[in-house]
Structure formats: C-alpha cells, structure tokens
Symmetry: C2
Subunit: 432 residues, 2 copies
C-alpha cells in the first residue's frame, strides 16, 4: 500500500535541527520502509532564511514566520528544537491547538509545562513526545513509560548533564581546579559562553523534574528540585575523595516514599566501584530503582546532533506509525497533583566536610563537640598540615548518616568557631 | 468507562510463573488503572494440579491439559513461561492459531522459530511479544525496536548469561578454579544440576540470535552463532588477565558489515576500565553500537522471578492496551532472509595464548617463529617459571590483531612443537 507522505515542520535549525533535517534526507528510504509512507519536510522555522546551510532542503520551505508552520495544512508533526522557554512554549501550544502532533527536545518547557501540554494534547487528540528532552540519545523516557510500567519506581539517580560531567572528569583526571577547567571546556565547545544553567545544576533540575513526574506519576516541577552547582569544588576535594575511595559526580536524585517525593541535584561523593562513578566525559547515565526489576542503568550519549536526532526520530516514527494505522493517541498519563514535596532539610545522608583550621591542639575536639551537640557523629577524619607559616591545617571529616537540617546548623556553628578559618566545602555522600 | 476484563492464560507455574501470578494479584488495582480494565487469570497450565502453591489463585483455574487453555474463549493473552523447545513451541503456535496474543520468555523457541511465529501472528492479527526472553528484567528488545528504530545497528556486545557471569566473577575475586566454583554455584542455586546450556554458551547463543535478528533485521538462527564455553578457564588465566589489565567475561557479540553478520559467544579479555568489565555477579548488560546514537549500555537484572515478571507484564500491558483501544497489532518486522553469516575463521582480533613449555633456551624463539610464519605478531610476552623440577615454564603471549584462521593453525602447530607441553588456553581479546 502506498500512502500519502506525512508532513514534518521543524522549529529551529541549529545543531540538532540540522541533524534531524540531514537524517530525514539521508535515511529517507529506510524511514519510508519503517513507517509505510515517506516523511516530508514541509516547513522549517529559522531566524535567518538567507544563511547558507549544510543540509539539502526542499526549495522554499524556510520561513522566519512561525505562523507559516501552524497554518500549513500539510504539516502533521511539529518538531520543536529551539530550546528555552520562549517562544518555544507558545509554539508548542499553538501546534497542539492546530491539531498537530509535537515532538520536542525541550527540557525547560517540559519541566515547567509538560503536564499541561499533555492534557491539551489529549483534548485535541494529538500526541506530544519528548524522549530527547532527557539524556539525549539514551532512551529513558519510553523505557520508563513502557518497559517499567508494571513497576513502582522507588528512586532515580542520574548523571544527566554532560557539560558538568566533562568538567568533573577532567578535574578528577588532571587535578585541575574548576575555573581553569571551565575555561578550557568553553574553548573546546563543551561549555557555553554563559555556562550558568549547566554548572549551577539548573539544566539537570529540569531533566530530573521530567523524570520524577513520569516515574512517580505525580507533578514534580522544576522549582520542586533543590539544586546546587559544581562551582565550589576544588582540586583538593577530588584529591581527598580519591584517597577515601570516592568519585565526585553531579547527581540528579529523586526518591518517592510515604513521606513524599524528594528531588535534588548536587555534587556528591559516590563510591568508586559503583557503575555510575565510572560514567566519564560528556556521557550520561540514569539508574532506576524499581520494585520488580531492581536497579537498571541506562548509559550513553546525553547530547550531540546525531544522538539527539536518534531520540527525536524514534518519537516521530512512533507518531507517524500511529497516523498511518489511524490509531488514536494513547491516553495521557494521569498525574497526582497533590504529592508532597519533601524539603532538603529532611534529607538524611553521610557528609564530607573540609575545614581550614588553626594548627593547634584541641581543634578537632572543638569541631567534634559542635557536631556531637547536633547528633552528628564522625566516621573518619583526615588532618593535614597545610601552611606551616600561617599555622593552618586542613581537616576532612566523613560523618555517619546525619540530617541535612543538623548539618546546615553545624556548618554555621563551625564557621563561627575561632579555630575555624573557613568551611571549605560540604559534599553529600551517596551510596546505595 | 468500565470495560470487560482481559483474560490471561498462563503456561507454566515455576519461579517466573509464580511471580507473574502473584504480581497480577497484588498489583491488580494499579494494572487496572494503567490498562483501563482488569487482567483476570483465567487458566494456568501446570504439571501437578494438586501441588500446594504460595500464590492466591482463583478457584478451579489450574489444569494439566493444555487444550483447556487454547479452548477457553475467555483467554485473550497466553503467557508462556515453560521454557525449552517442547512442548512450548507447539503451545505458542496453537495459541496464535486460536487467535490469542502471546507473551513469552522463551529464548530457545524465539531463537529457533521467532520469525515464523511473528509471521503466523501477523496472519492471525495477533501480537507475539518476548521482552523477557533476553536479559530478563533489563529492557532491551523494546528499546531496540522502538527507541533505536531510526538507527542502523552496527554491533551488539553483551553479558547475557547470569550463571556464567556469577561463576566468572567469583573466579576473578577468589582466585578459584572453574570446577570448584561451578559446584558452589550449583549448591547456591545459581547454576542448574545440568549446567551445560549455561557454561557452554548455548543459552547466550539463543539470546544473541534473537538480538541479532532484531538489530540487523535479518534472520540470524541460533545455529549461526559460534559458541565456546567457560570450562577451560583456570585461576591462572584470571591472574594473568589481571596482571595485563583485563577482566574475563563471557561475551555475546554480533556485528553487521557489508561482508555479512558475525555472531559469537566466547570468554574474552576485556580492558578493566570498560563499563562491561565491571558487570558483576548474576547481572546482565547489553551494549548497542548504533550509527546515530553511538554506544548505549543497558545494565540490570538478567533473571529472577520479579525482574522477569516486570518484562512479561510490560508486554502484557502493551497488548492489553491495544485490545482496550481496539488497535490492530503493529505490522511485524520485515526480515531479510538472505543475509550472509560470516564464519568464525573470518574474525580478526587480538589473542591471549597461555603455553606450558620446557624451560630451556630458545623456546620463545621457536614459538615466535611459528606465529611469525602465520603472520601473527606478538605484542607482549610474560614468561614464568612454573615447576623447577619438571623444568617447565609458562609463557603468556598477547598478539596484535590476527586472523582467527591463522590463530587456529598456530595452535595446532604450537601443540606439535617438542618444546611445548601444552597450549593451556587461547582467549580472544575484545576492545572497542
């Protein structure tokens, strides 16, 4: 049977948009065979229609006016690859209103408005798919929704920001400090000119909000995710972590229990023999803990033109096959809206604390008293002479499990001690 | 909307069947919510209906007569969990002929008859799903078919037999020999009384045939997969491998190139810093190399009642949702039937060779001449005195890339040398 082509509208023609356009062209025959009809690019929204482009594009499909996409009756599926909240959110909304299916890689929009968009799509009988919004080319959203659907998800732990993992990997391997490594990453194109979203953990918090919402079937917003970046990490922290048998990774973690959902992004010490400790460079990994299947790890490319294209096209093909067989979109996920979000202060974990102190007798005793008063017990301590002239020493403590509330107070009280020059860093420890 | 229940027939009530039955009962409400109607167990085929069972089962659904399942008009989906070729294959076939959907965990049947069963299912307009047949609770089949559908798959490399990975992990950690470790694994229930299928790589070859067929969209039969078991590995091999920076794993590997498909299962040396080298115990991992997304690793439980239940129920829910929304089963995979299967002799890789030789001058030169004549060059050599009295030495060679055909000849010629008492082992090296 030969069917009429399915029309694709592309919003954005950057790195990923270019990958999608090229692949649609290069794999045209295979895609046609998989779907039962061709995928035809019918419109591409760009900022500058005159700019020379590497991709072979059908004549006359570039436009700088978004309305040309929404009003094109030949377009069945809109692929949004602009990124950022505005105007992408409006454009996705308009596509749905026009009865178009949507595939998006937009983590910010999906973290903030995903559930609303899915409801709107259901009303209009169209699909909104977003596999590429988390972990790029590594499948995680479809596996959560399909393969693990019989499971209750207990926890998610992931490395879902390639830029920071690249920086942390280099700091660990080279003993380099943060600022120098960031500059180098920027020069090499692994970090953006304004790296805030990545290095402050904001990008990861968007992605974690998406995963937690799907996993726990409860609305978890990006603002529900605690995030702390990697800017305070020093070469010395990596050195101590290594001595103690740990790697330092920016982890995105979400757990669900009777007390509610806790979602957080921060640099953490993870035991070197755990699989996730060995995820290096720009790669991503997501570990899912589920009641039936136990722990699963998905590991692979988290970004890049072709990996992201792989995820985008999986979604496009899914929708296109449904169009070809006239299948109504599956019912949208029903999400609980009254989930309790647990505060970070309720966290209980082990802590690594690095202090600069005066080098004189009794310092460790004073530090121990502050912690003991707050019910924080010390599991191990390393003390090193740091600066003989200034008579300063560096102490690294590993605590037993303690509450975040107590630890926050402890940091304040330690900073107030005469013998403490500075609390250099406090890093949470994650072991599971 | 309240819909009438979907009827499930269960063939086999062993460990996995018990897990499925219990979970259907315990998660009844969640499953109903996910699907839109309940899943009702309507018939269970067992060997002994009088045997006491842990699961709460509806009254009167046990039968020892398979015809009771096929002739039960209330059964929509047959879940086959008997294992083995006979009579499971006939039963699956009969279920399809009766217009019933099938979910199976049967790697042997799917490796041998999968493509035929899928065609038969298409004729009868029913689905046959088999996520649980490879890597148990770790999703790999649906990700290959859905998430990676836009990719061309270049290679598959996996640890897909938990029993052998458990044995190899213990041999590596404890310096133990194979026989002792196997006995212990049998006592602990990790290996069967007749362990042949596992330790000879036969089980892994079934699973690899399934994965290769799907990945390369070409019919790869279990008999197309070369397999070599782990019985010849010794504590000394692990010791040398460790000295050289390698782990030893039973790998299942399939590649596709213009020359055809090559599929093979054998113990291999893998660099210790590769993720797959760190997959320990009964866990499984499958790495997929694809043109768009690069390398992906899926890691998790490969067997066990609940993990396998997770995979079985994902398939059951998939089919049940299609039944509820009256969706016709998606068209079956079209497989090329004329793929060329490459012989093992075409393999090119590096080799580890362990020899027992007489301890006298010139031995290494003779060995080197044999290899050099066959165009095999030595990358490194370790020579150790072994038995001072017998005047024997042990030589371990690592070759550069060489052809399997040449290496097979070399082993014969080395065994014929006077100075060689025995070629202790030849292990292929896998680096990617």
């Amino acid at each position: 049977m030969s069917k009429s082509p399915i029309g694709i509208g592309l919003l954005g023609m950057g790195v990923v948009g270019g990958g999608v356009a090229s692949t649609l062209d290069q794999k045209r025959d295979q895609l046609t065979a998989l779907i039962g009809c061709p995928l035809d690019l019918k419109g591409v929204l760009v900022r500058d229609a005159a700019k020379p482009r590497a991709q072979k594009l059908p004549h006359g499909i570039l436009t700088t006016n978004a309305e040309d996409i929404f009003n094109n009756p030949e377009i069945d599926i809109v692929v949004e690859l602009m990124g950022g909240q505005d105007p992408a959110f409006d454009y996705i909304r308009k596509s749905i209103d026009q009865g178009m299916h949507v595939v998006t890689a937009n983590k910010e929009v999906m973290a903030r408005h995903g559930p609303d968009l899915l409801l709107a799509a259901q009303d209009r009988n169209v699909q909104v798919l977003f596999e590429a919004s988390v972990a790029g080319g590594t499948p995680i959203i479809a596996p959560l929704m399909r393969d693990l659907v019989a499971n209750e998800i207990i926890g998610i732990r992931g490395i879902i920001n390639g830029t920071t993992n690249y920086i942390l990997t280099r700091m660990a391997n080279e003993g380099a400090d943060f600022d120098a490594t960031l500059k180098d990453a920027q020069a090499l194109g692994y970090a953006e000119a304004d790296p805030t979203n990545d290095i402050e953990g904001i990008d990861a918090s968007y992605k974690l909000a998406i995963l937690a919402t799907l996993a726990f079937r409860a609305r978890v917003r990006d603002t529900d995710v605690f995030h702390e970046g990697i800017t305070k990490l020093t070469a010395r922290d990596f050195q101590y972590a290594d001595e103690l048998g740990y790697a330092i990774k920016l982890l995105a973690i979400a757990n669900s229990s009777e007390d509610g959902v806790q979602a957080r992004v921060y640099p953490a010490l993870v035991p070197q023999d755990m699989m996730i400790a060995k995820v290096d460079g720009v790669l991503n990994a997501v570990e899912i803990e589920a009641d039936l299947t136990g722990n699963l790890l998905f590991h692979g490319a988290g970004a890049g033109a072709l990996p992201t294209t792989s995820a985008v096209l999986a979604d496009v093909i899914d929708i296109a096959r449904n169009i070809v067989s006239s299948v109504a979109p599956p019912p949208s996920l029903s999400l609980s809206d009254d989930v309790r979000i647990r505060s970070m202060l309720e966290l209980e974990t082990r802590y690594y604390v690095r202090l600069t102190t005066t080098d004189r007798p009794g310092v460790l005793a004073q530090v121990g008293t502050v912690l003991g008063d707050l019910n924080i017990s010390i599991a191990s301590a390393i003390q090193k002479e740091m600066d003989d002239q200034a008579k300063q020493a560096e102490i690294v403590l590993m605590t037993h499990r303690a509450s975040e509330a107590a630890m926050q107070q402890a940091i304040q009280r330690l900073n107030a001690l005469d013998v403490v020059a500075e609390v250099g860093n406090m890093i949470r420890v994650e072991e599971w």
